[in-house]
């Protein structure tokens, strides 16, 4: 069943919903990355919670005017209005008062959300309020979604993606170096406004599927996971989009099979699984690889230090060093070097001396930057350069002896 949902075989409507959720995930991951780069990820939490009173007010207004209160475009417009108001409050409080942004976020988030909950309770007492189903906006639901709803969500996601492509350079520059960006003629306020507008747009179109409480996770978790995979901003953006898309796609698929489960939490749990996998398994920055690399590095350092000590005829006290040398066949249990150890240790000592010269000469700056106490200088410099260095170390070492 789950498999047929994943492969879009559950009928037209379910397929459309899954496609919408996938696009939403991509848009949220990509937009959220810029927010993450700008170190303002939590603002999105204030924005999303501030949508609730808008949803409720839109329902009340539409019902009172005699329309269907559950009309999705109407509800989303209402949510966008209060979300913008909430965002404005956060900006105003953090720029015009002594409050820091985190305090402003906390205040705005709770007040708007509280007001929204009160309005929901009011709606319950209204004549037509019983079957409003607005609670589904809290945790998201794909059950009973209309064709037009799915098109709206997919279209909004695609529009958000297009805007990100257009404004990627100013957004990236103002995130990395706002002062330089400003001096290059980029209007920081306008760029932030575009970025926050995008976040608001994604939040609003995500209300139906993910719900307002958890949409922040879809904005923050994909970039946090993607950061483990790459050191290039463009790649982080793309990977975050892919991870967000996978979370939205698999979450919506599972929810199509099990309609009683709330869609938002399922999508977020899938996003978290991707995050956990990235954190553990990503090459380079992942925990597993860095632990392995650290261990390998530590052992190599021990062997190298041991060889230097052997070359200089110093005793080795560190048990790990001794054990590693022994295992590599470079020394005997009592610390006396084997023939192999003797040969290698004199080579290592020579390497150390060459490095010393290279690092003290600005002409070898590039090479010196690669010094880690392990890399052989032959791997970094040309034979000619090494000959040059050897002419310099030759003389003093003779004097020393």
């Amino acid at each position: 069943m789950f498999w047929s949902a994943l492969t879009f075989q559950l009928g037209y409507n379910a397929t459309l919903v899954t496609l919408g959720a996938t696009l939403l995930g991509v848009a949220a991951g990509v937009t959220g990355t810029f927010l993450y780069f700008r170190k303002r990820a939590l603002v999105s939490d204030a924005i999303s919670h501030a949508t609730l009173p808008g949803v409720a007010l839109a329902f009340i207004v539409m019902t009172m005017l005699g329309f269907d209160g559950r009309n999705l475009p109407g509800l989303l417009i209402g949510s966008a209005i209060t979300a913008a108001l909430g965002l404005y409050c956060v900006q105003w409080l953090s720029s015009r008062t002594r409050l820091t942004e985190d305090a402003a976020i906390g205040a705005v988030l709770s007040v708007f959300f509280g007001f929204g909950i009160v309005l929901l309770t009011v709606i319950q007492t209204m004549a037509s309020g019983g079957q409003a189903g607005l609670e589904s906006f809290l945790l998201g639901s794909t059950a009973g979604m209309l064709y037009s709803d799915a098109v709206l969500i997919a279209g909004g996601g695609a529009l958000a993606l297009a805007l990100v492509v257009i404004f990627r350079r100013p957004m990236l520059m103002s995130a990395f170096d706002p002062e330089f960006a400003r001096a290059s003629g980029i209007d920081l306020n306008r760029t932030d406004l575009i970025m926050m507008g995008l976040v608001m747009g994604v939040t609003v179109i995500g209300l139906k599927i993910v719900g307002l409480i958890l949409i922040v996770a879809l904005l923050i978790i994909p970039p946090a996971a993607a950061r483990f995979w790459s050191d290039r901003a463009t790649n982080v953006v793309i990977i975050a989009g892919i991870l967000g898309g996978i979370a939205g796609w698999s979450g919506a698929s599972l929810s199509a099979v099990a309609p009683n489960l709330p869609t938002g939490p399922i999508i977020v749990l899938f996003a978290f699984a991707l995050f956990a996998a990235s954190m553990l398994l990503a090459p380079g920055r992942g925990l597993l690889m860095s632990a392995l690399n650290h261990r390998r590095f530590q052992r190599a350092v021990h062997i190298r230090q041991g060889l230097v000590s052997l070359a200089q005829g110093q005793p080795i006290y560190e048990p790990l060093t001794l054990r590693l040398l022994q295992k590599a066949g470079l020394a005997r249990a009592d610390g006396v070097p084997t023939d192999d150890g003797r040969a290698q240790s004199s080579r290592v000592l020579r390497d150390e001396k060459r490095w010393e010269v290279a690092r003290s000469d600005p002409a070898f700056e590039m090479a010196a930057a690669r010094y880690d106490g392990l890399t052989q200088i032959e791997d970094v410099l040309t034979p000619d350069q090494i000959t040059l260095i050897d002419t310099r170390i030759g003389a003093p070492s003779v004097v020393a002896q």
């Binding site: 780069f37 257009i166 100013p170 990395f176 002062e179 001096a183 290039r232 901003a233 700056e365 590039m366």
Partner: protein, 269 residues
Amino acid sequence: MTSDIALAGPDAANAEAEVLRKSPFAIRGLTVSYDQKPAVFSVDATIRPGQMTAIVGPNGAGKSTLLKAALGIVKPLSGQITSLGRPLAQEMHRIAYVPQRASVDWDFPVRVIDVVQMGLYREIGLLKRLSGGQKSKAMACLARVGMEDFAKRQIGQLSGGQQQRVFLARALAQDADLYLLDEPFAGVDAATEKAIIEVLKSLRAEGRTVVAVHHDLSTVPEYFDDVLLLNVRKIAEGPVAEVFTDAALEAAYGGRLASARITTNAATG
């Protein structure tokens, strides 16, 4: 200032307009305050074209603030900034700025070459891709600061001096007439300081104007042509030989002069 001109009549006003037209970077009546405490107060300055000018003064003298306010990074309370007689805000495309190294997060996921290419975004615009020529231009700027071998490195792996040179390369990519640098020599190694000053001197040789916030008094006479001495108010401005005197330093640094004088004497004597 303006009232003086009004009193002095149209000739003085014309003379002032002429002065402004010639200066690539002129400041008139600039005041900036943080929470009602002035950081820069009513400063006038006229930077000479094609020269290297140091902005010098004690900690908290408003040196960096002056640059930031001129560029619109912080909002001044009052003042006009002009370049060749036109408002600086309209001339931003001819200006390159090198911010303090500490102002950015060096763990940001960009490589050295990506940072330099940010200097080209102004000419590329929003959507166009980087052309081959622009890519080699970025590489050439990196080579000019001796960092071409580091192009593919993540910026967090660089030393402080290397980071500063990458910032300078990004400014070079902007191909500007006026270079404004905020503490380019702060916390860098001797080799970097030498590399940076060579690049700045070559910019001057090309007829460009260089203005740098500088904190090391001992190197002012060696590196710079002009100096702007600042301590919230302007203390003095002009050629180093005329302006960089004990009396002016006393006025700028006050009680802290003793150590300042020792360092300058050590450098000159």
